[in-house]
């Protein structure tokens, strides 16, 4: 919970990880390249006083995670969104058992979403059924640019991907978090294109599709499909830290999202440990759209409350203390969809 100027905010960090990027876990050079790329993101977009050293960044462990999120970071509840990256790391990048164990230990604070790869075919489906039961899964995290043998990506509307989504429906896994990456097969097309999300969102109306990084680097295409589909949401992972380095650009992102998606479909995320939530929460509560951007209305306290936590709490049925709620329900996807686009 974050308390500022007499307002109390319930905070859900909707995208966190517990990874192992240490050299001992690298399968090949790509393991090193991947964690180095993450570390450059961290260094480029963090305020100087919250920079980590490289070794801490490669592996920080569960205790540090609990402290950064819940003791220091004002977070009430956080959701693991793991990337497996089995072609780069011996034991995977996201540490499944360690993260799942933490979530079991702190069910009030942590939700564990798991990852699957539809290219694992029938055997993977069977594994998904077992994981859903053991982990009581409400959501999954899909990375479409994951490498897999000689394939370096897939689309959500591929036949096997559709079978997995249908299985999710059967298993009661309703929240599909999607992270687009730079590779796909064939390379003829734009790997970041979100058209496949549009197709499956239309076909599986009982699933929620949360597009991580609000579709960046294709913010515009994401906004466009989100106006067409009532079950498409945006996660602010990676977009959040621009609040520090590029506040005007951050204001434009938020302005566009409020216009195209509306205030009920945007989720706060630190993308921990890419960044830590404390400074992001503080800056977001203090944030206002600059006056020079006359095309956007000022962001309200109620909108900030929804984005910081109430929207994700509604999707994940989290118990929000009465004094932290809004008079009207947040996260009601049926209202204000593409409010701006329709006016």
């Amino acid at each position: 919970m974050y308390d500022k100027d007499g307002e109390k905010y319930f905070v859900v960090d909707a995208h966190i990880a517990l990874w192992d990027g240490r050299a001992s876990n690298h399968k090949n050079i790509h393991g090193k390249q991947f964690i180095d790329c993450f570390y450059d993101y961290h260094k480029n977009l963090s305020p100087e006083e919250v920079l980590w050293d490289y070794d801490t960044y490669t592996y920080y462990g569960g205790q540090r995670l609990m402290k950064d999120l819940f003791d220091d970071g004002y977070v009430d509840h956080a959701i693991f969104q793991p990337a497996i990256l089995g072609e780069f790391y011996r034991n995977g990048f996201g540490q499944t058992e360690e993260a799942f164990g933490l979530a079991q230990e702190h069910p009030d604070k942590l939700t564990y979403n798991h990852a699957y790869d539809p290219r694992n075919g029938e055997a993977g489906l069977e594994q998904l059924r077992r994981d859903a039961e053991r982990m009581n899964l409400k959501g999954v995290k899909l990375y479409t640019a994951e490498w897999h043998g000689d394939s370096r990506g897939y689309k959500l509307d591929d036949p096997w991907s559709r079978r997995y989504l249908e299985e999710c429906l059967e298993l009661g896994i309703h929240n599909i978090h999607i992270h687009k990456g730079p590779t796909i097969r064939p390379l003829d097309r734009d790997a970041f294109d979100v058209a496949d999300i549009d197709k499956v969102a239309t076909d599986y109306l009982d699933l929620n599709f949360v597009v991580e990084h609000v579709g960046l680097p294709r913010l515009e295409d994401f906004c466009w499909i989100a106006t067409q589909e009532s079950n498409v949401y945006g996660g602010l992972a990676v977009a959040m830290p621009f609040i520090h380095t590029r506040p005007k650009y951050f204001a434009q992102i938020i302005g566009e999202l409020l216009y195209w998606l509306g205030e009920d479909k945007i989720f706060f995320s630190s993308d921990y440990a890419l960044w830590t939530p404390k400074w992001l929460v503080e800056k977001f509560v203090d944030f206002q759209i600059p006056e020079e951007l006359t095309e956007y209305a000022p962001i309200t306290t109620a909108q900030k409350k929804k984005i910081l936590g109430l929207n994700a709490a509604a999707m994940y049925d989290l118990d929000v203390p009465a004094e932290l709620r809004l008079p009207t329900e947040a996260g009601d996807a049926s209202v204000e969809v593409a409010a701006g686009a329709r006016s």
């Binding site: 370096r152 097309r189 734009d190």
Partner: protein
Amino acid sequence: MIAIATSATSSTSLSDRVLAALSGVTDPELDEPITELGFVRSIRIENACVTVHLRLPTSFCSPNFAYLMASDALDALRKVERIGQVVVRLDDHHDSDKINAGLAADAGYVGTFGVEAEESLDELREIFHRKAHTAAMERCAEQLLRTTDVTVDDLHRVTLADVPAGPHKEALLRRRVAVGLGVRPADPLVVSEDGQSLAPEDVPLRLRFAKSVRISMEGNAHFCRGLLATRYGSTA
């Protein structure tokens, strides 16, 4: 900063022509020259051979765009008169080996990427030409809205002749040519994704979407520049 090394016998005019050729190569996603983005790491001219090293903001920048920039650079350099042998190499990318081998062997896109490639990158390039045109169109429209008494409701009547001369208009005309649109003064400024005229009532939403495209491209350019500077420190 681009490190340029020339042997005593080569002329400075050749290095100028090499730089000029490379400045005509753009990052398709960002619609900016690779020379201005800091993607040209070094140029070495010696013994009738020009070697250019390229670099990108991360190891994981999209391999298809990485290949496009590297092969465009090679094509542009080969058009420089009396240039001799040309070598283009992409450094520090997860597909550096594959792309450099493909460039060295003149293998083309399909030959470079093998089973991962289907046909060509023409459609990909076309998509980003269209985005670049959309963003350029929005800048011109926005300039009119801010500096004249033209309103959004008048925009459907605005033609290229109404757009004041300047860098925004020059950029727009170049982008129009790239997507196969005319540049006649009577041509409408605000057109659909595929260059068609719009009904007056459709213009405001088209402009609104064009604004998102422009913000997205500018934001990505900020991000790429920042990451390149972080990755390569003071040499970026």
